[in-house]
Every structure is written in structure tokens, then in C-alpha cells.
């Protein structure tokens, strides 16, 4: 490292890769729709981790109660009044490597179950979201598509 130019080049590369790393991590941020089209989920960064909130529901009113949907299937009875709109469906994802976020969970309000979850970005507008039980083999992958404001 006696040659400062060589060091400069090396550190420039390091800096550049570092910036790319941060950008890749934040590629997850945005509004996404699961394949069933029932909700829209906004993924945002909180601290160092990524979380996804339901920001839109196709059917926001519960057909039985005639009131806004709440998390009625939560196994924790005390939390069954939490509104589904605004609910954090995806929690605690950390950026692992290019196009992959792991160590998170996904919650299914239909049955009140929380699954382990990994997210893989197939392309910048498509996510493979795999929820599983214990080991990845016992799971299911759903394809989520990116949304953006584009008035029809």
C-alpha cells in the first residue's frame, strides 16, 4: 500500500460497493401487492430492519360485523381488536445479500398464524415471498408485484 493511487482506487471501489449495498438493501422499500390482490403492503425501513404494513384493502369492511376489519383470528385474545388496515404483516427483515432479505416473519390474518419468511427479489418489480414452518421445505411461495402511483 505504498502507492497512494492504488489505495485510492481500492477504497473508491470499496466505497462504491458499499453504496450499492445500501441501495440494494432499500430496493425492498415500496408498495407491493400479493398474488391474491386483497391487500397492498407498504414495505418501509424501521431502524435497521424492514417492515410491511397493510395500507389498502380490497374489502376493508368485515361482512359479518359491518365494521372495519380487525385481527379477529389473533391467538392473543387481547389483540383481536387491532385494525387490519395499518397492520404490520411483514416484520423484522434484515438484508442478507443482493436481492435477499431474511430472518423475518409474515402474518396471515386469515388464520392468525405467523410464519418464518424470506424475501427474494426476482426483478426490481417482483418479490418471491416464502412463508414456511420450521424448515423452508414446509412452505409456500407467493409472488408480490410492485405498485406505483399511476393514475388510470
Amino acid at each position: 500500500m505504498k502507492n497512494p493511487i492504488r489505495l485510492l482506487i481500492l477504497l473508491t471501489l470499496l466505497f462504491a460497493s458499499n453504496a450499492i449495498y445500501a441501495q440494494q438493501a432499500d430496493d425492498l422499500v415500496g408498495v407491493w401487492e400479493p398474488s391474491n390482490g386483497k391487500v397492498r403492503v407498504k414495505i418501509e425501513k424501521l431502524g435497521t430492519k424492514y417492515f410491511g404494513r397493510i395500507v389498502w384493502l380490497r374489502a376493508p369492511i368485515d361482512s359479518v360485523t359491518n365494521k372495519p376489519k380487525v385481527d379477529k383470528n389473533n391467538p392473543d385474545v387481547a389483540l383481536r381488536n387491532v385494525p387490519i388496515k395499518g397492520f404490520r404483516l411483514l416484520k423484522d427483515f434484515t438484508f442478507k445479500s443482493a436481492g435477499e432479505w431474511t430472518e423475518g416473519t409474515i402474518y396471515d390474518p386469515e388464520n392468525g398464524s405467523t410464519y418464518s419468511c424470506t424475501i427474494k427479489m426476482k426483478d426490481k418489480n417482483t418479490l418471491d415471498i416464502r412463508g414456511y414452518i420450521g424448515i423452508s421445505a414446509f412452505g409456500r411461495t407467493d409472488v408480490w408485484k410492485r405498485l406505483e402511483i399511476k393514475k388510470q
Binding site: L46, G47, K49, L79, N81, V82, P83, K85, G86, T105
Partner: protein, 170 residues
């Protein structure tokens, strides 16, 4: 041979007893007073998030209980009251959900009030008795996150404060 089996068995029981009885079992109340939350205007109807960073300091509790090295084994929310500041009241919101988050701990939903009783300055949240939150108290810092579902758009900043109490067991 039989003696060695007996010794192994006794050691095993001793190890199991140690692990099952690990921890002092001592309890303490941890209070967070006047945690500040600000929802900056303009605000839109729907679930708006705000968070307060809280630095944890259990040294006084540990000193009082003489349990210097022990970690928190269990924690339970025993009180959560949210206060609407200035001229605001519960009329502004449909519901409030409180969660805890941390950099090394998974987020936990902790309490909810839905719907809110109209015309009040304070809201008592209903806390979960099942949420696993002990790990938060073994960190140095945690975020208290509030999701406030607003009824209408608003041009005014909304300020809330919270008084929380947790029962900790070491």
C-alpha cells in the same frame, strides 16, 4: 459401572435443576413516563406511525434487588396510558396500537385500544399478556411504536405522550 451411571445421573439432575431454577425470580416494576410521540402535519386519515426511542436503564432496579448480573427472564405490560396533548382528544382517532421494536429483537405487538371512547384526553390500552417482550429489556435501547388510525386528514401536528409500566422478572 453402576456407580458411574449413578454419578452421571446425579450430575444430569444437578445440571437440569440449575437450568430450570436459573434466575433469581425477583420481580420489579419498570416505568416509562411521558414518552413523547409526534405525528407531524399534514396528517392523512388512516394508520399513521410514530415512535419514541427509549434508552433502557435497569441499573437502579438491579442494585435495589442485588441481582447485578441477571437478565430479565420475563416481562409483561401492566399499564399503558396514552395522553392527547394540547387541545386534541380521542375524537381524532379510531384506534391506537402499540408495539415494541429493537435492532436485535423481533417486533412485538403489545397493546391496543379500538375503538376509542370519544371526547377523552387519555386512552387506556388493553395489553397482551402473551407477548414475549423480555428480550427488549436485555437491550440498551428500544423503540415504542404507535400506530394511530386517524379519522380525518389534519393540518395540525398531533402530539401524544405515554405512561407505561412493565412487570419484570429476573
Amino acid at each position: 459401572m453402576k456407580t458411574s451411571h449413578l454419578i452421571s445421573f446425579v450430575i444430569l439432575i444437578a445440571i437440569l435443576s440449575f437450568y430450570s431454577c436459573n434466575g433469581s425470580g425477583k420481580k420489579a416494576t419498570y416505568k416509562i413516563e411521558k414518552a413523547n410521540f409526534t405525528l407531524e402535519a399534514p396528517l392523512f386519515s388512516g394508520a399513521n406511525s410514530t415512535q419514541a426511542e427509549h434508552t433502557l436503564d435497569l441499573s437502579a432496579i438491579k442494585k435495589e434487588l442485588v441481582i447485578d448480573g441477571d437478565e430479565v427472564k420475563s416481562a409483561k405490560l401492566t399499564k399503558a396510558i396514552i395522553y392527547f396533548q394540547d387541545s386534541t382528544s380521542t375524537d381524532l382517532a379510531n384506534s391506537i396500537v402499540m408495539s415494541l421494536a429493537g435492532d436485535n429483537v423481533n417486533m412485538a405487538q403489545l397493546a391496543v385500544a379500538n375503538p376509542l371512547e370519544e371526547g377523552k384526553k387519555e386512552v387506556v390500552l388493553k395489553g397482551s399478556s402473551e407477548a414475549e417482550i423480555a428480550a427488549f429489556f436485555n437491550q440498551t435501547m428500544m423503540y415504542i411504536v404507535l400506530d394511530v388510525d386517524l379519522k380525518n386528514d389534519s393540518e395540525s401536528t398531533l402530539i401524544l405522550t405515554a405512561d407505561l409500566e412493565f412487570e419484570l422478572e429476573f
